[in-house]
Symmetry: C2
Subunit: 376 residues, 2 copies
């Protein structure tokens, strides 16, 4: 019997209870497919921080980096300033483990009604690959240094024609700035991953950027996209502006097969993607380093007001568990879980209130686990 | 009889033909409401650039800055590198005239079916105020300077903890960066405008940002939002993350009254807004400097493949014409035009093919002009 060790960070709010259901389903899959998971609990999140002052230590990160996959519930707590937990734990892990692929399947399951008129399961089935370690997520910015105050319109006109660059001096209160960066290596590896994925799916890869305005950073992105593409003559490609893509996701989701996009736009369009596939209750995400430590999570937040009520939908977390098993090499078990989710959803009997049902979170977990055993 | 002079840039593709219909409707409104517009044509766009090498000269910008309002068709041509016309003409004018308000009404008209299931005219009626002269639109970026090549993951981990800032040295091919900035003055004036607008509407103002990750620039934005808000105790406010907002636009558009947002996120969410209100054929935009020169345009592009076919929907441009009249102080005429558009749409008889009709662009213009005269 194969034995896996998987660290679990339940996190805040509803995190622990949804992860419990995910574990239940993975354990059921283990019985059927012949593996066993040793779950190792980690306490990180708001409570831990408020008690100990520690977000996540370098030692813990080192320790976690021995493992292939981490299972994450949710982070976020109303007692905290926005950004502290997100940056101190979630983004910190994404960067530390160099999880450069954020994988987000956008798939409308049979039995779920999309909020988009006229779209059914056959119309919405694509994957967004979001770069996960660069772009405007590197956390660099500040306020401009003190100096002679210039007429602001003049400064901006000159900034606009790039004559000033960062040498602008102005009153220290006047300006805040933020810097994004992408690297050749960082860009190429995620684009390569996406071409590979497209080659396994329907041979269509769409790049999403805003190269007509943020030309420096996304012009570079496009160059790399084109360069890497030379090795994939069989994959059809297109460049898309992020603003237009928000429209196509609604109007023509059937156009997309694999979408690759820098970090920040990826954040935005995958939430929209979650919505068209039926809402956050159904949207899983993987933070993947194919040669290192990956991390799997529902893309929804910690929903503090439902904490401990055994009420929220665990399906996104269960689906994230399937992605986790894929990374461990248990792809049959992963498929069985996705099938079981689809069966649960298309039966439409055991479901939480967000899906119009009256069942508890734990009952949905139990139902999916049962289906996994039946079909396994 | 009041006399106005209004510069017109028809631009590329379908630009000239849609602006022709907009003029037709404004002229009709003038007959009813007692004003006359002297239209002054400007040739700027791809053809002009390819013939003369000029995008738009400083002299022309100076000349245009005498006027209160410019009417713009569309810019964009397949013969040009993406970004050249957009940055060289459109953004150039927005920056030059310091048009710091990009006003985008998101209103589902009676008679239009939203692509969002179950949403009707009463659910979708809000305004997005997009900051229009700052943020990541300032056009500053580059590639990192040559130097000793470091291990990229190490560089990024350090960048992430902000130990390196911009002093990172790496191979010149390796990194591209982009800088965004917001100023106190630039932030406050657009936020003030938005509070004022909310106070005239339903007293609810939503800020859209990503302060949990791009904390420097959008933390500053939030500070200013809060500061300005002290003068508007009657306006309810909330902070929203841009990723979540793409979901709420689909799920709960009725939540929104006035939305204020920095430039780049504004670009993205207003396209999604256009989609939920029925598509680009119906979405107008105003680039406004309340004390200077403003500019009005449909938010759709130049649709080169339909050029000269008298086929596309002119309603967005006609609606932009109403916004233009508002700026000239002709608010009754502006209201009459919006009413006439609504009547045309709810009658559902004279309509272009994107709305399931068979009429020409010019027939729709004529119909709206006729309704303006009837109801005026
Ligand atoms: C919580 C937040 C920092 C995070 C992000 O912006 O990446 C989230 O929105 C996500 O998409 O995983
Ligand atoms: C054409 C482009 C530069 C422009 C923008 O990004 O602002 C457009 O998308 C818009 O929204 O007006």
């Amino acid at each position: 019997m194969t034995q896996y060790k998987v660290p679990v960070i339940g996190g805040d709010g509803i995190g622990p209870e949804i992860v419990r259901e995910g574990r239940k389903v993975i354990d059921a899959a283990g019985e059927v497919f012949g593996f066993d998971v040793d779950w190792i609990d980690y306490p990180h999140g708001a409570d831990h921080y408020l008690e100990t002052g520690e977000l996540i230590s370098e030692d813990t990160l080192k320790e976690l980096s021995q493992y292939k996959a981490i299972y994450l519930g949710a982070l976020g707590d109303p007692r905290m300033t926005p950004g502290i937990l997100e940056k101190g734990i979630l983004l910190n892990m994404r960067f530390y483990f160099d999880e450069y692929i954020n994988l987000r399947p956008i798939k409308l399951l049979d039995g779920i009604e999309s909020p988009i008129r006229g779209k059914t399961a056959k119309d919405i089935d694509f994957v967004v690959v979001r770069e996960n370690t660069e772009d405007f997520y590197i956390g660099i910015g500040g306020r401009a240094k003190k100096g002679e105050k210039k007429d602001l319109l003049e400064v901006k006109r000159q900034l606009y024609s790039a004559k000033f660059g960062l040498d602008v001096e102005t009153d220290s209160e006047e300006i805040a700035y933020q810097i994004g960066m992408v690297s050749k290596e960082g860009t190429r590896r995620v684009i390569e991953y996406s071409y590979d994925l497209a080659a396994k799916r329907n041979n269509h890869l769409s790049s999403v950027d805003k190269a007509n305005v943020l030309s420096d950073i996304y012009g570079f992105w496009r160059e790399n996209f084109t360069e890497v593409g030379k090795n994939y003559p069989g994959v059809a490609t297109d460049f898309n502006y992020v603003d237009a893509v928000t429209m196509w996701f609604v109007k023509n989701p059937e156009f997309f097969d694999v979408v690759v996009t820098p970090n920040m736009f990826g954040d935005i369009i995958t939430d929209l993607g979650a919505m068209i596939q039926g809402g956050l209750g159904l949207a899983p995400g993987g933070n993947i380093n194919p040669k290192g430590t990956s991390m799997f999570e529902p893309i929804h937040g910690s929903a503090p007001k439902y904490k401990g009520m055994d009420k929220v939908n665990p399906l996104a977390t269960i689906w994230a568990g399937a992605l986790l098993l894929d990374t461990l090499g248990e792809s049959k078990a992963a498929d069985a879980i996705v099938n079981a989710i689809e069966k649960n959803v298309s039966a439409g009997i055991v479901k939480t209130s967000d899906m119009g049902g009256t069942n508890k979170c734990s009952e949905v977990g139990t139902d999916v686990a049962k289906i996994v055993k039946e079909i396994g």
